[in-house]
């Protein structure tokens, strides 16, 4: 177990380092360099040289990369060009809000997808199974912003039950006070996850139903419900941990769309407005933090998996 833990952690560190290389390369792949993007097409050559000198962009690339890395280790993600604030401060304000959104959506998705997946597996080949399969394909094929808009038109305009805009307050207290405004964004974000998770759980339960231990449990005279809940579901849920880890990038990608549709001031909206105004330090800072969260998330998922399923430790 310890060896597996060390190996997997080292791998995650290497991946994190590669992520910084990619992000650094992106920053320097800008046509005309960042100076052109910031100062605009009319900036004179001396102005650009001055900017490059101030930002340290006139030094050799490896030196720049090392200094970038050094700043990162000190928690310095750079300064926003447009908002003139440290990127780290901006992120500190926004991350908790995005966490509220993503965690709620994940909880909702798991809570809905687990019963749905089990139901489909138990009723496989029958009407319920076909109906739910059709629905999850539909949910998968619908762009999130289209679904979100349909939800807004239905539940905020036709039947004005919920607000069309997410809570705007700066603090988390206000966000929870206006939680009603988060319901539509949460549902929009959860729809795709529900489709993916329930499909996965359906086949996972089906695979487990043919295992020997199920036959043993049945032959001992246990009720079908007990077999399903105590034996099959427990085993079928283990891979869901990995699935959660794998789904993180898609989840963060979804926040960009959902937060800009519902105007929720989280990291997704920060990222989107930075893209609109070529605010590259913010774009790359958010990318780096999200990527780091993904790497850590999948590391955590693997470790939890190893704890739940001892076989994985010895196989490696």
């Amino acid at each position: 177990m310890t060896r597996f833990l060390i190996r997997r952690t080292l791998q995650a560190l290497v991946v994190l380092l590669l992520v910084t290389v990619i992000v650094f390369a992106l920053l320097h792949a800008l046509p005309g360099g960042p100076a052109r993007a910031i100062l605009g097409p009319r900036a004179s050559l001396p102005q650009i040289e001055q900017f490059n000198h101030d930002q340290g962009f006139d030094q050799p690339l490896p030196v720049q990369y090392l200094s970038y890395l050094w700043h990162l280790l000190g928690g310095d993600l750079g300064q926003s060009y447009r908002l003139n604030q440290p990127v780290l401060d901006l992120l500190a304000q926004r991350i908790p809000k995005t966490l509220v959104l993503t965690c709620s959506a994940t909880l909702l998705a798991v809570a809905v997808a687990v019963p749905l997946g089990v139901l489909q597996a138990v009723r496989r080949g029958r009407f319920t199974d076909h109906l739910l399969t059709g629905l999850s394909f539909l949910a998968y094929a619908t762009p999130a912003f289209f679904l979100g808009l349909v939800l807004i038109i239905l539940f905020a305009q036709t039947w004005p039950l919920l607000p069309a805009e997410a809570p705007q307050s700066a603090g988390l207290g206000g966000v929870f006070a206006g939680f009603g405004g988060l319901l539509l964004p949460i549902c929009t974000l959860a729809a795709g996850m529900i489709a993916a998770f329930s499909r996965y759980l359906r086949s996972s339960v089906l695979d487990n139903l043919t295992e020997d231990y199920v036959r043993t449990a049945r032959s001992k005279g246990q009720s079908e419900r007990r077999v399903l809940v105590r034996h099959v579901l427990r085993n079928a849920l283990i891979p869901v941990v990995t699935l959660l880890g794998m789904y993180l990038p898609a989840l963060f990608g979804g926040t960009v769309v959902v937060e800009s549709l519902f105007n929720y001031p989280g990291t997704g909206l920060l990222f989107w407005s930075a893209a609109q105004s070529s605010d590259f330090p913010v774009l790359l800072g958010v990318t780096l933090v999200v990527a780091a969260a993904t790497v850590l998330g999948s590391l955590l998922a693997d470790l939890v998996y190893a704890l739940l399923d001892p076989r994985i430790r010895t196989v490696r």
Partner: protein, 284 residues
Amino acid sequence: MIAREQIARSFVRNRLAVAGLVVLLLLAAFSWLGPLLWPTDQVHTDLAAATLPPGSPGHPLGTTDLGYDLLGRLMVGGRSSLEVGVAAGLLATLVGTAYGAVSGYFGGWVDAVMMRVTDAVLAIPALFLLIVVAAMVTPSKPLLVLVIGAVAWLSPARLVRGEALSLRSREYVQAMRVMGGGSVRAVLRHIVPNTIGTVAVNATFQIADAILYVAYLSFLGLSVPPPATDWGTMLSGGLTYAQDGYWWLIVPPGVAIVLVVGAFNFIGDGLRDAFEVRLQRRPA
């Protein structure tokens, strides 16, 4: 030949997959043959005829906010969506297959390095990469294909790598190596052709995803410049008006996207089942 027949037969028996294929053919005919039967001006705006509701004379689906005939625009937009989606999906499949085959075939530290690189790119949400890259350049059709292809090759790469790892130790590959065959020959003639099932299935999903990516990018304001359009651009362009009751600006392109993405997914599912049937029937 028998294997191929088996795949075809099992695919045809899957009703959802056949339905997907029919829907796809209809949408393609609509996009390419439609304008021959229903010629419209999709270049010049006509503000006098803007936002006419469906059923207006001469405009069965109504007109857009700039006065384009919506039915005709759906046809033109479908062409872009399908072209970009298919091209990007195929590009991703091609790159990913080559990458995965090489990584899996060589194994060892080559594999370790190549897979850590995919891990790193995979850790960055595809939408983030797409937005950063699209913010740097002005999008055009070939560029969208390139950009989407550049982030989508990861999943075929990992799938093919997994198969290549097990294929490289098979006897026929070993035998070929003993007879003096080189690595290039092993990868091209033995590894890649044997992963074709996985690759074909994945390619259909890649195309579906690529069409969705195009839609997301246009929602975020990064799409082909007007007067060119695609279903995603039409859908997101209509968003501003949809809340004022102009539902026909978003429903037709929205339905078109759902149909085409759903169709590709059904086809992919059917293909996967068909290939699995073949694998099960093959004597071990």
